[in-house]
């Protein structure tokens, strides 16, 4: 067994809870390992410090200690039973409220998206008709405009022709 493995058993060795075989293996290793010897020394030194700190006797419980415990229980019982169900309800309410909030959020989301979809479906034909209308109006306007232009053009040509013919006619008359 490796040094690290054996070092890991030093606590059990110090508390005498190792098997005879393990104890023998560890003692053989301890005889030649300074690191493990030092760690065992640390375990024993600190154990002694702890035991020395406990040399003073702890205060002994008074004869009526159990009775004082019952009195403390009675004092706390009211608070405990008053608060306990409320606390339990509050603790249970937190996950319940979270689930409810998520469910409500989901519902609201689906409602909004479905309404938006419905709106889009009704809005699209309107858009089409408006586009169609606008194109019709555009066509009509263009037709009116082109008609006006052609009429104007004819008028201009006729006035030009008239202007050309006038001096000739004046000349003929003077001759």
């Amino acid at each position: 067994m490796s040094h690290q493995n054996l070092k890991g058993w030093l606590e059990e060795y110090a508390e005498n809870s190792l098997s005879a075989e393990m104890t023998q293996d560890l003692e053989q290793h301890l005889a030649m390992c300074r690191d493990c010897q030092e760690q065992l020394r640390t375990i024993r030194l600190t154990a002694n410090i702890l035991r020395a700190s406990s040399l003073a006797e702890a205060p002994a419980p008074a004869a009526g200690f159990a009775l004082s415990v019952f009195l403390a229980i009675e004092q706390q019982r009211e608070n405990y039973f008053f608060w306990s169900p409320l606390r339990l309800v509050a603790l249970k309410a937190v996950p319940l409220m979270t689930v409810l909030a998520i469910a409500l959020g989901f519902l609201a989301y689906t409602q909004i998206t479905s309404e938006l979809n419905a709106q889009q479906l009704t809005e699209e034909p309107l858009l089409e008709t408006s586009l169609e209308l606008s194109s019709k109006w555009g066509q009509e306007a263009a037709a009116v405009f082109s008609e006006q232009i052609s009429q104007d053009k004819e008028q201009v040509v006729s006035t030009l022709l008239e202007a050309e013919t006038l001096p000739q006619e004046v000349g003929k008359e003077s001759k």
């Binding site: 809870s17 002694n48 406990s54 003073a56 419980p61 200690f65």
Partner: protein
């Protein structure tokens, strides 16, 4: 079935007399551990009372197959942590010098549980030095060492109290012991330095 388990089952059925027996059976142990942890004799009874009150109200949820002692130790240690946290008188690194006699006492490997050869004043001195050395450790490490060395709990039992694996407990013990030894050696060196002067 052990006496504890029988008493717990009776308590769980609402038998107040069984709870009184349970308190009487374990009160000394709780007083001892509380005293080791807080070192204030006047506070021990109040803290112990809190421990048993908590046990009373938590008994209905206690699983009968679990270790009652480990549970009792855990509640006691946690109650002491609460008290120490409130008091905030933690880890005061003390400058105490160790005399040769005290050092010889700590390094005399073997049982020192009842050093009858020491007079009362010497015992008090040694105990106070040990307490000063221990005060450098944080409460979690101190409670671990107290349960290991004073309450004589095995590594296996400590795994139930602290709900940790054996390797984690050993690692914590290793660190706590080395920290305590470092303080001990620092104090020894100072004392030796003084002697040379």
């Amino acid at each position: 079935m052990t006496v504890d388990k029988e008493l717990i089952q009776r308590c769980q059925q609402g038998d107040q007399a069984a709870f009184e027996l349970l308190v009487k059976k374990h009160e000394r142990r709780v007083f001892g551990l509380v005293y080791q942890m807080v070192r204030q004799p006047s506070e021990v009874e109040d803290i112990a009372q809190e421990v048993f009150t908590k046990i009373y109200f938590s008994l209905p949820q206690f699983r009968i197959e679990a270790s009652f002692e480990a549970w009792l130790y855990r509640i006691t240690v946690n109650q002491c942590y609460d008290y120490l946290r409130k008091r905030k008188r933690e880890a005061q690194v003390t400058e105490s010098d160790l005399s040769d006699e005290e050092a010889a006492f700590f390094e005399r490997f073997g049982s020192i549980t009842q050093p009858r050869h020491l007079d009362i004043s010497k015992r008090l001195e040694i105990r106070q030095t040990a307490e000063r050395l221990l005060s450098v450790l944080p409460p979690k490490d101190r409670s671990l060492l107290i349960l290991k060395e004073i309450e004589d709990l095995s590594i296996e039992e400590l795994t139930h109290v602290f709900k940790s694996s054996a390797s984690a407990i050993k690692l914590r013990l290793f660190r706590a012991r080395n920290q305590l030894k470092a303080v001990y050696e620092k104090n020894r060196k100072r004392e030796k330095g003084k002697q040379r002067v």
